[in-house]
C-alpha cells in the first residue's frame, strides 16, 4: 500500500503567498547570517591575508587572533566575568523594577494610573540630554569608576518595557483572577509575586532578553564613566582594542617600535575574535528561550 503523504494542502492563492514569504524569509536569514560567518572567517584568517580585504574563505588560515586572546586571557576573562555579573544583576533588577512599575498601572482601582502612565510616557520622549545626565550621575550619585556606572544610567527601567508588561498584564491575565485573590485575602505583594509574575513568563523572558542584550552590548557607559581598566566589560575592552588598533594604523609608522608592534599584532582578526567571544553567550541562550520570546513578542496580537 502506498504511503499517504502527510502534506498540508494549500489553496491556489495561499501557495503563491507561501512561496513568496519563504523566499523573503530566506533572504532575510541570509542577511542576518552572512555577517556572522564573515566575522568568524576573518577571525580565523592571518593578518597578512586581510590586507587585500575580507573573504568568506580565508586565503590563509590562522589562529593568531585566538592565540592573542589567550595571551590576554587574564584581562579578557576579567572583562567577561564583569560583563556576566553586570548583565545578570542588571537584568534581574530591571525585571523586578519594570514589572513592579507595570503592576499598579494595570490595576483598574489604582486611580492615578493615567497620570503615572503619562509621566512614564513623557520620559520616553524627552530627557535631560547627555551632558546633564553625565553631571547628575557623576556629581550627585558618584558612579564614576564603579560597577553602578553600568547598572544605573538609562538601563534599569525603560518606559517602553513597562508599557509592554502593563499591556501583557491587561490583555492576558483576567482581572477576575486579581479580584479572586483579593477576596482570598492576598495583599498586593502576594498577588504580584504569586500570580502576576508567574503568569507573565513570556513577556518577562522577552523584556529580560532585551534588557540582557542591552547590558551585554553596553559599551557607552564604560566609555563615559570608567577609567579604571580593571572595570572594563568585554564590550568596553573591544572598543578600547579597536581604538588602539586605529591608533596604530593612524600613527606615523616611522617610529620603529610602533611599526614592530603593529606588525606583530593580529589587529583585524583580533577585533573579530573578541566580537565572536562576546557573541557566544547570546548564541548559547537564545535557542532555549526562543519559544517564550515569540509568545512575548506577539503580545496583544491574538486574544486568547
Amino acid at each position: 500500500m502506498a504511503k499517504k503523504k502527510n502534506k498540508i494542502q494549500l489553496m491556489k492563492g495561499e501557495a503563491g503567498f507561501h512561496y513568496v514569504s519563504l523566499v523573503v524569509m530566506i533572504l532575510l536569514m541570509i542577511f542576518c547570517i552572512v555577517p556572522l560567518i564573515l566575522m568568524l572567517t576573518v577571525s580565523l584568517s592571518s593578518e597578512a591575508s586581510l590586507v587585500k580585504g575580507y573573504r568568506f574563505i580565508p586565503a590563509q588560515w590562522s589562529l593568531d587572533a585566538y592565540f592573542f586572546m589567550w595571551a590576554k586571557r587574564a584581562t579578557i576573562l576579567r572583562a567577561y566575568g564583569l560583563t556576566i555579573v553586570v548583565t545578570v544583576i542588571g537584568t534581574i533588577i530591571s525585571l523586578i523594577m519594570t514589572s513592579m512599575f507595570a503592576y499598579p498601572l494595570s490595576r483598574k482601582d489604582f486611580k492615578p494610573r493615567n497620570v503615572v502612565a503619562f509621566i512614564l510616557f513623557f520620559t520616553m520622549l524627552f530627557n535631560g540630554g547627555m551632558v546633564a545626565s553625565y553631571m547628575v550621575w557623576t556629581r550627585l550619585f558618584h558612579i564614576k569608576d564603579s560597577l553602578l556606572a553600568y547598572l544605573l544610567p538609562g538601563s534599569l527601567m525603560g518606559g517602553m518595557n513597562v508599557l509592554l508588561v502593563r499591556n501583557y498584564f491587561n490583555a492576558n491575565i483576567p482581572y477576575s483572577i486579581i479580584e479572586a485573590a483579593r477576596l482570598d485575602g492576598a495583599n498586593d505583594w502576594t498577588i504580584y509575586s504569586k500570580i502576576m509574575v508567574p503568569l507573565s513568563k513570556p513577556i518577562m523572558i522577552t523584556i529580560g532578553l532585551f534588557s540582557a542584550l542591552g547590558y551585554w552590548n553596553n559599551w557607552t557607559a564604560g566609555i563615559y564613566y570608567i577609567n579604571n581598566p580593571k572595570l572594563y566589560t568585554i564590550q568596553v575592552y573591544l572598543k578600547k582594542l579597536m581604538d588602539s588598533i586605529q591608533f596604530l594604523k593612524t600613527t606615523d609608522l616611522s617610529n620603529e617600535a610602533v611599526l614592530l608592534a603593529s606588525r606583530s599584532l593580529p589587529t583585524e582578526s583580533a577585533r573579530m575574535a573578541v566580537a565572536i567571544i562576546a557573541l557566544i553567550p547570546v548564541l548559547a541562550v537564545y535557542p532555549f528561550i526562543q519559544k517564550e520570546l515569540i509568545k512575548g513578542m506577539v503580545v496583544g496580537g491574538v486574544k486568547g
Binding site: I177, G185, I195, P198
Partner: protein, 385 residues
C-alpha cells in the same frame, strides 16, 4: 456568620471618557450612545437604585434578574470590589462601606472560574490558607477533606487547564469553602456548564449549604437555579428590587407583571388591555369574571387590566374556550401546547402520561378551561392588584 444589611444602596458607573485621536462626530456619536442607554443619569449608567435588603446569617438567597439588572454589581458591592455612590452596607450592624475586600471575610465564586492557572488544584485550594500564613501541616488535611467532599481528591496534582468546566467550578467552590468565610457569593457560577453538570452541581451546592450553614448569596438569570436553590429570592430589574420573598411566593403571588413573566417565563400567558366595567366586571374569551372590592380599590380610575395565568394552571377539558393547536413541544415530563383562540396565543402545560404527544396534534381543536382562582391581575403600570 454575619447578617448583611444594605440600606438605600445606589451604584452609578460613570460614562466612559471618550478620548484619543478620533473625529468630533465620532466622539459625539459615542457619547450619545452612552447617554441613550436605559437608566442613565447625568453622571452615568445607573446599575443599582435605592436597594434595601437584609441577608440573614446562614441563609441561602438567590438574586434573580435578567442581564443588566444589577445583580453582579450587588455582589461586587457586598464583596467590597466596588464602592456604592450612595447607601450603606452593614455586616452585623457594623458599617462596612470602607472595609477592604480582603478584610471582609467574604469568598466569591466567579462565572469564569478565576482559578490561578500557574498553580495545581491543591495549590489553588490551599491558597487562601497560605496567604494567612497557616502552617503547611495544618493546610494539608484541610485541603484533603474539602477535596474529598467535592470529589477532587484524584485531581489535586492537576493544573486547572487539565480539568473540565464542572471540575474547575468545584475547585473554585472548594477554594471558597476552605477558609470558612462568613459569606460566599456566587456570580452565575454554573452559566458555562452543560445541563447535566449544572444539575449535579446544584444538588451538591444545596448539600454543602446544609452542611456548612454559611450565608450563601447566589446571583443568576436562570429561574430553575433560583427555584431549586433559594430559600429566598430577590428579583431585580434595571437595578430596582422588584420582589423579595420565598420561591413559592414569587411563583404563586408575583408582585408585578415582570416577576410573573420572569418566573416560568416560557409558559406564562398574559392577555393585555382587558376592559373593566364600572361594577368591576371583565370578560375574557367570552366568560365574565369579577374583581374583588380590594382589587377594584387598587385599580382606582383605570379602566383596563392585564390578566395573566400560568400554562400549568390551564387545562384541556370538555368545556371551555375553543382553540386550535398550533404546535407542541416536549420539555422533560411536560408537554407544552401552543394553541390559538380568538387570535391570541395560549400556552398550556400538560403532564406527559406516555400518550400526550399522540393525543394532541397540530391543527387539532381543543377546549381550554380557565380557573379564575389562578388569575394574576395587573394594572397598566404592571403592579399586581
Amino acid at each position: 456568620m454575619p447578617k448583611i444589611t444594605l440600606k438605600d444602596v445606589t451604584m452609578i458607573y460613570p460614562f466612559q471618557k471618550v478620548t484619543g485621536l478620533i473625529g468630533r462626530k465620532q466622539k459625539q456619536f459615542i457619547l450619545k450612545q452612552q447617554q441613550d442607554m436605559p437608566y442613565t443619569s447625568n453622571e452615568g449608567v445607573i446599575a443599582l437604585q435605592h436597594f434595601d435588603c437584609t441577608f440573614e446569617e446562614g441563609s441561602f438567597t438567590v438574586v434573580l434578574g435578567p442581564s443588566g439588572s444589577g445583580k453582579s454589581t450587588l455582589l461586587r458591592i457586598i464583596a467590597g470590589l466596588e464602592r456604592p455612590v450612595l447607601g450603606e452596607i452593614y455586616f452585623d450592624d457594623v458599617l462596612f462601606n470602607d472595609v477592604q475586600a480582603q478584610e471582609r471575610d467574604v469568598a466569591m465564586v466567579f462565572q469564569n472560574y478565576s482559578l490561578y492557572p500557574n498553580q495545581t488544584v491543591y495549590q489553588n485550594i490551599a491558597f487562601p490558607l497560605e496567604v494567612k500564613h497557616i502552617p503547611r501541616e495544618e493546610i494539608e488535611p484541610e485541603v484533603k477533606k474539602i477535596a474529598e467532599l467535592l470529589k477532587l481528591d484524584e485531581k489535586l496534582n492537576k493544573l486547572p487547564q487539565e480539568l473540565s468546566g464542572g471540575e474547575k467550578q468545584r475547585v473554585v467552590i472548594a477554594r471558597s469553602l476552605i477558609r470558612k468565610p462568613s459569606v460566599i457569593l456566587f456570580d452565575e457560577p454554573f452559566s458555562n456548564l452543560d445541563v447535566l453538570m449544572r444539575k449535579e452541581l446544584r444538588n451538591e451546592l444545596k448539600k454543602i449549604h446544609e452542611t456548612y450553614k454559611t450565608t450563601f448569596i447566589y446571583v443568576t438569570h436562570d429561574q430553575y437555579d433560583a427555584l431549586f436553590l433559594a430559600e429566598r429570592i430577590v428579583l431585580l430589574k434595571d437595578g430596582i428590587k422588584q420582589m423579595d420573598a420565598t420561591a413559592a411566593d414569587v411563583y404563586n403571588y408575583p408582585a408585578n407583571r415582570f416577576c410573573a413573566e420572569f418566573i416560568g417565563s416560557s409558559t406564562f400567558n398574559t392577555f393585555e388591555d382587558i376592559p373593566v366595567s364600572k361594577d368591576g366586571k371583565y370578560k375574557l374569551f367570552g366568560q365574565t369574571y369579577e374583581l374583588t372590592d380590594k382589587q377594584q380599590k387598587q385599580l382606582g380610575k383605570e379602566k383596563c387590566i392585564d390578566v395573566g395565568i400560568r400554562g400549568t394552571n390551564l387545562a384541556i377539558a370538555d368545556k371551555g374556550v375553543d382553540a386550535i393547536i398550533e404546535y407542541t413541544e416536549m420539555i422533560e415530563a411536560d408537554l407544552i401546547i401552543h394553541a390559538k383562540a380568538d387570535d391570541q396565543e395560549i400556552i398550556i402545560v400538560e403532564k406527559m402520561d406516555g400518550n400526550n404527544e399522540m393525543k394532541y396534534m397540530r391543527g387539532q381543536e381543543i377546549r381550554i378551561s380557565f380557573d379564575p382562582m389562578y388569575f394574576h391581575l395587573f394594572n397598566k403600570k404592571g403592579d399586581r392588584i
